[in-house]
């Protein structure tokens, strides 16, 4: 068992989830708070990782974060090393790759909140921020949980972006899915089996937890 890869995978998934939620909350709030071409464009861009092969995203990030572009050179100048082939680079890639899994449930959750409630809150003197934190967010809590769990599991299962952007550096970019690929390349099927089992069990348990939670809540809502 590759415990270093397991630890790295969990660390990557946790970091990505925390950062992505911080980004997705205001983005989803903005998208949900109106209509128009700008919001439609934002939604399309957010949804892109759903349809793009992850290797495309990984390739663009590899180029963008490397010394070939101005932003890449700036990052190298600031950090002293390129973001590609590093843990931070993986976090950026994972955030972009999981963007729709965080933003879309939140947009749906925010839109489901009755606007009449938000109006009444504002006539009671609540600023837009207070309305968001005390009415919208609590009422959209199930969506927030869904967004967090989906982001986490999706990051755990990510392969293409990591392969293109991270390479295979133990402790820095070698996640479980990469380790599995590596083990198969080495014909080490016993180790590959254990890694695959671990990923399968984890994914199944997480999904079970979500659906069980949903099933337990339903009678209360009815």
């Amino acid at each position: 068992m590759d415990s270093e890869a397991l630890w790295l995978t969990l660390r990557l998934a946790l970091t990505t989830t925390a950062l992505l939620l911080a980004i997705a909350l205001p983005v989803a709030w903005w998208i949900a708070s109106g209509n128009g071409p700008l919001r439609a464009l934002a939604q399309s861009v957010v949804a892109l990782p759903l349809v793009l092969p992850p290797t495309v995203l990984g390739f663009y990030l590899l180029v963008a974060l490397g010394p070939l572009t101005a932003p890449g050179r700036l990052i190298i100048h600031l950090l002293g090393h390129p973001l590609a082939f590093s843990f931070s680079g993986l976090v950026i890639g994972s955030i972009l790759y999981s963007l729709p899994f965080a933003v879309q449930p939140l947009v749906a959750g925010f839109r489901a909140v009755d606007p009449a409630l938000l109006e009444v809150a504002s006539t009671l003197g609540a600023s837009p921020l207070r309305v968001f934190t005390t009415i919208t967010l609590p009422l959209a809590k199930p969506s927030l949980v869904t967004a967090a769990v989906l982001t986490f599991t999706h990051t755990v299962g990510e392969f293409g972006v990591v392969l293109m952007l991270g390479g295979n550096i133990p402790g820095a970019t070698r996640t479980l899915s990469i380790a599995l690929y590596d083990q198969v390349q080495d014909f080490n099927y016993a180790a590959a089996n254990r890694t695959a089992e671990l990923l399968l069990a984890f994914s199944l348990l997480t999904l079970l937890a979500i659906y069980w939670r949903g099933a337990a809540r339903r009678p209360l809502l009815g």
Partner: protein, 267 residues
Amino acid sequence: MDSASGSTPAAEKTCSPAAHLNVQIRHRIGALQIDLDFALDKPWTILFGPSGSGKTTILRAIAGLLKPDEGRILSTTMPGSQIENRLTLFDSDQGVFTSAHQRDIRFAPQQPQLFPHMNVTENLLYGIAWTTLNPQQMLHAVKGAREILQSFGLEHLSGVGVNRLSGGEAQRLNLARAVTATSSRMVLLDEPFTGMDNTRRDQLLPYLQGRFAEHVIPVLSVTHDVAEAFQLGAEVIKIADGKVIAQGPVDIVLAEERLRLLQQLNR
């Protein structure tokens, strides 16, 4: 005062200096063209008119939930009010639109809109700006909230989730929440007593009148109930098709409706 504000046609009215609210708005909503010019100078004014005449739209425009196509709405607080200033709520010429949360105008919509994740007390106290109060004022607010729960017959439900309230209880909490703050610029009530049983209404009306008078908070309420208008003895603005037909004391403006009601009762 009464003679000055008899049933004058809306077109002859100009910006009244004694008024606490001046409304001149034009707004199109669906097939209805709203074109209004009126001033409020009484503690309690009633918007009276058939459904679809634009009453709710007027309340929403004053509350800041709707931006009229053009016109202006000017608020001046009455002497003795805790809020001492003039405020332009809306002015299309100057591009002014004060956000709803900055107007200090409380609005109880016709359909109860209670926050489903909060209990009765939490709903009631949502509009209290705790951060601006000193400890004594906080204590006062809590005491006031208890008194309101009692007056609205909700005291036994203070910790109950609002999803478990009956329709009548939800309606009363919806109303109570809008009148809890003692320092409002104005209170807007959309059909506050529709569907409420008469005993409860007879109890609540004088209580609300007293409370608003005590804190010098002017009220604009919507109704199409003639009896309710007479019970309040308030100033009435009669609306039809988005226009003001008449404004004045209830016994003058609604004399015709009163007569019709009496004839029906005598039949």
